[in-house]
Amino acid sequence: MKYVSFVLALAVLVIAPFFGEIAVHIEEIFNPESSSSMLFWEIRFPRVIVAFCSGAILSLAGLVFQSVFRNPLTTPFTLGVASGATLGTALAIVFLGGLLFWQYALSFIGALLTVIVLFLLSRSLKSAQTLSLLLVGIALSFFYSAALMVLYYLSDFEQSYSIVRFTMGSLNVVGFDTAYPIVIASLLFLSAIHWQRKPLRLLLTSLDFAFLKGLHVTRLVMSLLLITSMAVAVCVSVVGPIGFVGLIVPHIIKLLYRRSSDTLIFPTFFYGGIFLVACDLIARNLGAASDIPIGVVTSFLGGPFFIYLILHRHKGSR
């Protein structure tokens, strides 16, 4: 089962750049003169890389947050990090003429500011009150939504459309320049979490147990939170808030592997990436005039599959 899914996943990864509105001819991709070559190396290939890295970051971020907050519904999105990034982008669209650079910059700043606010607030909360932090995150999300409404109100028609389009998430990238930051972020993120897998396993028992084993629980929780949010901030600033991936992929991996979360870091990262590549493949090939927003595909595909897995699991345990 695991080998089959691994081979399938690799197959998806390999064929993904060749399918799209315009077919890429495999024999022409190494011929620098051809249009196929340009399409492949400038558009398709970077796009698949960005899709893979985004899916991987979002999924692993979901796994880490679910472990740290000990709540299966938690993702960085629940903490308002994505909303912060969205608000930043919307600000750039309305007030800075929608320059791409400012969109990236403000969205990153929005996510980072949210993390810093959470970080400062969490220091005035006693020790590791993760539930309180989660509630603060939800409150922040509502605050950002309200601010976004104000921006809609202030913006003209075209700006509103840009904001809406960004909130749907998009993997439209051109060239490798936009891909580099997200590739680097995903690799750094993966190594950091892999390095912390032992303390992470202690967190999977109880916070008291981890403390009694000599773990500096608050420090670990805060550093995991910060690392994860930074990776998510990079991701959101490039592709927008693609929800649902971070929520369902860790659960799907857990149900398939049936192992403790600390041993699922690599599978979650890898299949999270594959999941988004597959969703993007569908988004690119179903739409006639333009791509279907990626968030729509992730939810349409992931939702029913997720429900199927949950029902299936309950049948199995009976």
Binding site: S67, R70, R201, L202, L203, L204, T205, S206, D208, F209, F211, L212, K213, G214, L215, H216, K254, R258, R259, S260, S261
Partner: protein, 237 residues
């Protein structure tokens, strides 16, 4: 030496006592008298400035040293991850690399070898208690606080845990919280009796179980029948 100086936190009021190396203690007291609160303060799960080990505040000792000094075994097992197995849990109790031989030895002593691969979340409350005790044995802290270790166990297992505590080779210094007066009596450790957050009695086991003193604490709810202390269900008020 573990020293508590005038500890006042949550419901605890001016609790003070000293435990020297090699001394064990049984903490008794009614529901809500502060036994668990005291235990959690001792190991700094509830931060306080009044608990000292070798003259240093427990909160100022490096985390890993504190962990090797004092450990607390709660009444119930809490494991968040649904796939974490008994073996995984036990291995987390070792400070450095895990020692499979020792782990297997403890599993055999407590007769839970058959649960080796079961997820912790699937255990019964009695099995969970045994797993908690097994983990604490592997943890090897200087002081181990066991919070009602026998409350969920069947009769034979109660005897097993009693013998294990008595043998002296599994734990260094023990702090036992219990409602089982007979267990406290048979262990023979010094007794710390809490009442409404304060220390009402701290002294040798024999003095605590002196008939007049016992009656002043429990009325006629407890009876001594042939050297065993049993609950008097026919107590007439």
């Amino acid at each position: 030496m573990l020293h508590v100086a005038d500890l006042t936190c949550q419901i605890l009021k001016n609790v003070g006592f000293t435990l020297r190396e090699g001394e064990n203690v049984t903490i008794l007291g009614n529901n809500g008298s502060g036994k668990t609160t005291l235990a959690r303060a001792l190991c700094h799960l509830i931060p306080s400035e009044s608990v000292f080990w070798e003259g240093k505040k427990i909160g100022e000792i490096a985390h890993h040293l504190r962990s090797q000094t004092i450990n607390y075994v709660p009444t119930s097992l809490e494991v968040y991850d649904e796939y974490l197995s008994v073996t995984d849990y036990l291995d987390l109790n070792f400070f450095e690399s895990s020692n499979p031989q020792m782990r297997e030895e403890i599993l055999r002593v407590l007769e839970i070898e058959h649960l080796r691969h079961s997820p912790c979340q699937s255990l019964s409350s009695g099995e969970s208690s045994l797993l908690l005790i097994a983990g604490a044995i592997l943890h090897r802290a200087k002081y181990t606080i066991l919070d009602e270790p026998t409350a969920n166990l069947d009769q034979a297992k109660k005897v097993k845990i009693y013998r294990l505590l008595k043998s002296g080779s599994y734990f260094q210094n023990k702090i036992i919280i219990t409602h089982d007066l007979n267990l406290a009596y048979k262990l023979g450790y010094d007794v710390l009796y809490l009442e409404e957050g304060g220390v009402r009695f701290f002294g040798p086991c024999g003095d605590f179980f002196d008939p007049t003193h016992l009656e002043s604490c429990f009325g006629n709810a407890v009876q001594n029948i042939g050297g065993n202390f049993v609950v008097n269900y026919d107590e007439v008020r």
